[in-house]
C-alpha cells in the first residue's frame, strides 16, 4: 500500500455503489439513537449485513497524551473519566502499574478495601450494561430498573468515598478513606435487595420469550474465534474461555477470596446477557466475604504514612482520612517499565507505564476493554440482520468513550 497517496474517504460506506452491487449503504450514527458516540458504517443486502466498519474516535479525549504531560498523580482523575461506569477499575489499574515502579506494597486492609470498591463498581458496571442492552432491544423497563438498581450501589460508593462516580479512591500505597461506620449493615441490606430482584429480572428480561427470540443464536462467537479476536471480559467467558484476570494474575485481595468465574458455552448474545447476571451474583458473594474477612490495620503503606507531617497524622487518627505527603507532588521514579492488568466490569484493562526519571511518565499506554471488543462489530455482526446489530452491540456492553480514550 502506498501510504503517500492515501486519501481518506470520510463517507466510505456512503459513496457510490459499484455497478452491479445490490447492497445499500446504511450509516448508523454518529447521531442515531442506536449508535452511541460512534458511526457504524454498514452495507446491507436486503436485511442482511454484508459489511460493518465501526468508525470510532468521536469522543477521543487524548488521555494518553494528557497523562504524558502531567505529574503521575494527576493521571488518576484522567483515567477515571474515560471509563465512567468503571472508574474504580481504571483507577486501580493505573495505581497498580505505578506501584510496581515505585516499589510500594499496600497493606492488607487497603487491598481488601480496593477489592471491595472494585466489586461494587463491577455490579454498577454490569447493571449499566444490562440497562443499555434493554433499551437497545426496546425494553425500557429493564433500562429503568437497571439504572435504578445502580443507585443503591452508587450510594454505597458515595458513603465510602464521598463521590458517586468519579471516586478517585485509590492512591499509590493504599486507599484514601477508611470504611465509615454503618457501612457493613448498609452494604448487606443492599446486597440482599439485589438478590431479591434477580427473580424479577429473570421474569421480565432474561427469560422473557421475546428476549430469548431476539438473542438466542445471534452473534455467535465460538471459543476459538473469541480467542483469535482477542475479546475480553464477560464476552470472552460467554464464549467458553475460562479466563479472568482476577484468577490469572491476582491483584488486590483476590488471592485470598474464594469465588467462581462463571462461564457459558454458546457465545451468543443470550449468553452474554446471562453471564452479566451471574457475575453480579459472584460479586455479591465476594463483597460478603470481604466484609466478613477484612483484616484490621492501616489503610496506607508505612512508607507513605511515615512521610506525613504531624498535622496530617493527627487528621488520619481523627478522621481516618489519608492525606498526601509532598512526595505525591514530586514523584520522580527511576527509569523503569511496568504493566498492570485489571479485570474491569467490561473486561481487562491493560496498562503499560514507562518512566525515565522525570516527573512525567515517559510512555503511558493503556488499552480499555471496549477497544479490544471492537472486533465484534466488524467480524461478528456480518451475516446477521439489521435488527440483530443492536442485539449484538448491546450484548457486548460496548462503551464508545471508553474505546476512544
Amino acid at each position: 500500500m502506498n501510504l503517500n497517496e492515501k486519501v481518506y474517504d470520510i463517507s466510505e460506506a456512503g459513496s457510490i455503489e459499484p455497478e452491479g452491487d445490490r447492497t445499500i449503504a446504511l450509516q448508523i450514527g454518529p447521531s442515531h439513537p442506536g449508535s452511541g458516540h460512534m458511526r457504524i458504517k454498514t452495507r446491507m443486502d436486503g436485511d442482511i449485513i454484508t459489511k460493518v466498519d465501526a468508525d470510532i474516535g468521536f469522543v477521543h479525549r487524548t488521555s494518553e497524551w494528557l497523562s504524558e504531560r502531567r505529574q503521575f498523580i494527576k493521571a488518576i482523575p484522567i483515567v477515571e473519566r474515560i471509563m465512567l461506569p468503571d472508574t474504580v477499575h481504571a483507577n486501580l489499574a493505573y495505581v497498580l502499574a505505578l506501584e510496581k515502579i515505585l516499589n510500594i506494597e499496600p497493606p492488607p486492609r487497603a487491598q481488601y478495601l480496593r477489592s471491595l470498591a472494585a466489586e461494587i463498581n463491577r455490579i454498577t458496571s454490569h447493571l449499566y450494561g444490562i440497562g443499555i442492552f434493554g433499551i437497545f432491544l426496546g425494553s425500557s423497563t429493564v433500562y429503568m430498573w437497571a439504572f435504578g438498581d445502580r443507585e443503591p450501589f452508587i450510594d454505597l460508593m458515595e458513603m465510602l468515598t464521598g463521590a458517586r462516580i468519579t471516586n478517585s479512591y485509590i492512591v499509590p500505597g493504599g486507599v484514601r478513606w477508611e470504611m465509615p461506620k454503618g457501612f457493613k449493615e448498609k452494604a448487606e441490606s443492599t446486597l440482599q435487595y439485589m438478590e431479591n430482584r434477580f427473580n424479577d429480572y429473570n421474569d421480565i428480561w432474561a427469560k422473557n420469550p421475546v428476549v430469548e427470540a431476539r438473542t438466542v443464536n445471534v452473534g455467535v462467537v465460538d471459543r476459538n474465534r473469541a480467542i483469535s479476536l482477542g475479546v475480553v471480559g464477560p464476552n470472552l467467558r460467554a464464549s467458553g474461555v475460562d479466563y479472568d484476570t482476577r484468577k490469572a494474575s491476582p491483584y488486590a485481595a483476590y488471592k485470598d477470596i474464594d469465588f467462581e468465574v462463571p462461564k457459558m458455552n454458546h457465545g451468543d448474545s443470550y449468553d452474554r446477557l446471562l453471564i452479566r447476571i451471574e457475575e453480579i451474583k459472584q460479586s455479591i458473594r465476594i463483597i460478603r466475604q470481604i466484609l466478613k474477612d477484612m483484616p484490621e490495620g492501616k489503610i496506607i503503606a508505612d512508607s507513605i504514612y511515615s512521610q506525613l507531617n504531624p498535622v496530617m497524622k493527627k487528621v488520619f487518627e481523627q478522621e481516618q482520612r489519608v492525606m498526601f505527603p509532598a512526595f505525591f507532588n514530586q514523584m520522580r521514579p527511576a527509569a523503569a517499565e511496568s504493566i498492570a492488568r485489571v479485570e474491569a466490569g467490561r473486561g481487562e484493562i491493560f496498562f503499560y507505564l514507562k518512566t525515565n526519571g522525570d516527573k512525567y511518565p515517559y510512555r503511558f499506554r493503556w488499552v480499555t476493554p471496549s477497544f479490544r471488543n471492537l472486533a465484534y462489530f466488524s467480524d461478528v455482526a456480518v451475516g446477521y440482520r439489521l435488527a440483530d446489530l443492536p442485539a449484538i452491540y448491546g450484548s457486548i456492553d460496548y462503551f464508545p468513550p471508553e474505546a476512544d480514550r
Binding site: 445499500i24 446504511l26 448508523i28 442515531h32 439513537p33 442506536g34 436485511d47 434493554g134 433499551i135 437497545f136 432491544l137 426496546g138 425494553s139 425500557s140 423497563t141 429493564v142 429503568m144 430498573w145 435504578g148 421480565i204 422473557n208 421475546v210 428476549v211 427470540a213 431476539r214 440482520r385 439489521l386 435488527a387 440483530d388 446489530l389 443492536p390 448491546g394
Partner: protein, 338 residues
C-alpha cells in the same frame, strides 16, 4: 316535513361523526391514553412519569402540552422528498384511521351516514387501508431509515391482515350476520364472544397490537435501529399526526373488539329505550370497555422488548394464521352443534 327530517338526520350524523364517538371523543381519549401509557410505564419502571406540566393533577396535561408543542414547531420539508406525497400521506393516514368509526355503532339507535347492514365488513375493510399510506410516508421521505421502516410495515401488513379477517370471519360465522347490532344482540341472548371463541379473541388482540405498532411489535418504529422509522423526517404537526394515527387505529380496533367479543353495550339491553338508556348509556359502556382494552394493550410496553421483523412475519404466517383457521373451525363446529 321530509326535508326537516333529513336535516335532523344530517345534524345527527354530523354530531355522530364529529363529537361522539367520532373525532372529539377519539382525540380526547387518545390524549388521555398517551398520558396513561406513560404513567403506566412509569409505575412499572419505578418512577413518576409526566409530572411537571400541571403538577396538581399529576401531570395530566402533559399530552396537551405535547400537542401544543407539535403545533407550533417548525415544519421542515426535506429537499429530496416527494413533497406532495410527503405532505399528504399523514393526512390520509389519519383520515383512513378515523373512517372505520363511521361504521362502528356504539349503541343500538345510532344511524349512519351510509346506512348499511354490512358494517362489520366495511369497518374491517377500512382498517386495512391505513398501512398503504404508511408505506407512502416512508417512500416519500427519501430517507433510508424511513424506507426500511415502510418495507417492514408492508411485510407485516401482509402477514397480519389475513389473521385479522379470519378472526372476524370466525365471529361472523357464529353471529350469522355482518352487522354489529345483531351481533351484539346475539351476545346478549347467548354468551359474550370472548367465551364463544377465545381463540378468535386472542388472534384479534395480537393483530391489534401488531397493526397499531404496540410492543412487542414496535418494529416499524424501532428506535435503536431505525431512529423513528417511518416518521424520521417528519416534524411539527405532521409528526404529531403520525404519532396519533396508531392510537386512533387502536381506538377503532378496541371498539370493534368490545362489540364483537365483549358483548358491546351489555348489560344494557338492546331493547332499552329512552334518551339515557337507549342513546347515551350504551355508548358510554362501549367506550369504557374499549378504553380498558386500550389500556391493557399499552401496558405491554412496560413488559416486552420488540421482536425482529422476520420473527414477527414468520409468526404471522406460521402461528397466527393457523390460530385464525382454528378459530374459524371452532366457530363452524359451534354453529353445527348449536
Amino acid at each position: 316535513m321530509g326535508i326537516l327530517l333529513l336535516i335532523i338526520w344530517l345534524i345527527q350524523d354530523l354530531l355522530y361523526l364529529i363529537v361522539f364517538p367520532g373525532l372529539v371523543v377519539a382525540m380526547v381519549l387518545v390524549i388521555l391514553l398517551i398520558y396513561l401509557e406513560r404513567k403506566i410505564a412509569a409505575k412499572v419502571q419505578m418512577r413518576y412519569g409526566p409530572l411537571y406540566v400541571s403538577r396538581k393533577v399529576g401531570g395530566a396535561l402533559q399530552s396537551v402540552s405535547d400537542l401544543l408543542r407539535f403545533s407550533f414547531q417548525e415544519f421542515i420539508l426535506p429537499i429530496g422528498s416527494d413533497s406532495i406525497a410527503f405532505l399528504m400521506a399523514p393526512g390520509f393516514m389519519f383520515a383512513f384511521a378515523m373512517m372505520p368509526l363511521i361504521f362502528i355503532p356504539v349503541g343500538p339507535y345510532y344511524s349512519y351516514l351510509f346506512p348499511s347492514t354490512l358494517t362489520i365488513l366495511f369497518s374491517v375493510a377500512l382498517i386495512t387501508i391505513t398501512p398503504i399510506y404508511a408505506i407512502i410516508v416512508g417512500w416519500a421521505s427519501d430517507n433510508k431509515f424511513s424506507f426500511i421502516g415502510s418495507l417492514r410495515e408492508a411485510f407485516l401488513v401482509i402477514s397480519y391482515e389475513i389473521p385479522l379477517l379470519l378472526s372476524v370471519i370466525a365471529m361472523v360465522i357464529v353471529y350469522r350476520t355482518l352487522n354489529y347490532i345483531p351481533a351484539v344482540a346475539f351476545q346478549e341472548t347467548h354468551l359474550p364472544g370472548i367465551i364463544l371463541n377465545p381463540i378468535a379473541a386472542l388472534v384479534f388482540i395480537i393483530v391489534a397490537i401488531r397493526s397499531t405498532g404496540r410492543f412487542p411489535f414496535d418494529i416499524t418504529e424501532a428506535d435503536s435501529e431505525l431512529i423513528m422509522g417511518l416518521y424520521t423526517e417528519y416534524s411539527a404537526l405532521f409528526f404529531g399526526i403520525g404519532m396519533a394515527t396508531p392510537y386512533i387505529e387502536l381506538y377503532a380496533l378496541s371498539l370493534i373488539f368490545s362489540l364483537l367479543f365483549l358483548g358491546g353495550w351489555w348489560p344494557v339491553s338492546i331493547h332499552a329505550t329512552g334518551l339515557l338508556a337507549g342513546l347515551f348509556l350504551p355508548g358510554i359502556i362501549v367506550i369504557i370497555k374499549a378504553f380498558i382494552v386500550m389500556m391493557v394493550l399499552v401496558f405491554l410496553r412496560a413488559v416486552y422488548p420488540r421482536y425482529r421483523v422476520d420473527q414477527a412475519v414468520r409468526s404471522g404466517w406460521e402461528r397466527i394464521i393457523y390460530l385464525g383457521i382454528i378459530a374459524v373451525i371452532i366457530s363452524i363446529l359451534e354453529v353445527i352443534i348449536i
